[in-house]
Symmetry: C2
Subunit: 189 residues, 2 copies
């Protein structure tokens, strides 16, 4: 199973690809960060994130995309950007028929370290060990993306198989439903 993990953000969007199955050693296929300039217009930043995610999907052809679930208890301004970046990542995956899974930060920490409130250093150390890397991936967003992918591989493998089997079918149904609704709702003066 090959999974692209995405730690969404407007300024730094962590991405990491992990391959393997639960119960066996995992392999890192790639890790990086999609960055956008802080002073660019929001629409253009979203376009840059889309282009970045598309490249990772093209290059690694993941079977699943795991995205961090966004909460809003954090800083309001940051959360909006995170929600928007995550929307672009989910959109890129879903329109290719790749199933998207959302995992909360505490689910990811618990999966990788055994502690849902582990700090960044601990997550980085476990990612390094589990993927047999020479050093923790930097920045933290990149390590978090790999942790997301590991978490996804380890959680509910049976559910993953079912989800993948129906994802293509659902995509076609949703498109057909949308087309028929749009035809009946839209009117032009």
């Amino acid at each position: 199973m090959r999974v692209l993990g995405v730690d969404p953000g407007l300024t730094r969007c962590g991405v990491g690809v992990v391959e393997g199955v639960a119960g066996r050693p995992l392999t890192m296929r790639g890790v990086g960060v999609v960055r956008t300039p802080v002073d660019a217009e929001l629409g253009l930043r979203l376009v840059a994130i889309e282009q970045g995610i598309e490249r990772w999907l093209d290059e690694h052809e993941p079977e699943f995309v795991a995205v961090e679930r966004v909460f809003s208890q954090h800083n309001v301004r940051t959360v909006m950007g995170t929600a928007q970046a995550s929307a672009v990542a989910m959109l890129c995956a879903a329109r290719r028929g790749i199933p998207v899974a959302l995992h909360t930060p505490s689910e990811v920490k618990a999966a990788v370290t055994g502690n849902g409130r582990a700090d960044k250093a601990q997550v980085g150390a476990m990612v390094t060990r589990l993927l047999r890397l020479d050093a923790p991936p930097k920045p933290a967003d990149a390590a978090d993306a790999l942790a997301l992918a590991i978490c996804h591989i380890w959680r509910a493998p049976a559910q993953n198989r079912i989800q993948r089997a129906v994802a293509q079918n659902r995509l076609q149904q949703a498109a057909a439903l949308h087309a028929s609704k749009l035809a009946s709702k839209g009117r032009t003066a």
Copy 2:
């Protein structure tokens, strides 16, 4: 000037196209709602919104897209969906090189009714009058989308001209910058 207004939402995304210039009567070119099923997966809902917005851009070829600026003082769950739907609308516009403007709800209400705290009925009544319609557009999301477009036409026409002139140029710059950054940041195992 032809403007597509978008009142973003996951369940109902209001869209409306208005043509005209400040100081002259305005004309509605189209109004509608892009809907997505509440029980569908989030990724597929975003794909459906993308397809809907793309159709409106194809059909009406707006010179500007005006999107409601999302705040987070409202219901947390709703705000996340609104932020994600708005990201898709901004992405669709920006990757075509169409400038995107964000207006707050109170800016829109003030522009259309003279009162930044006007209620939905008042906004609907003024949209009906300003666009010389037979009845207020329904649902309220559709009327709000038209109000956004009107607001954009009336605010800062000079700024609009400048923004349009540089939008294409910026899009190319952002893509080039992104490509060079990605090349230097990403590494593959």
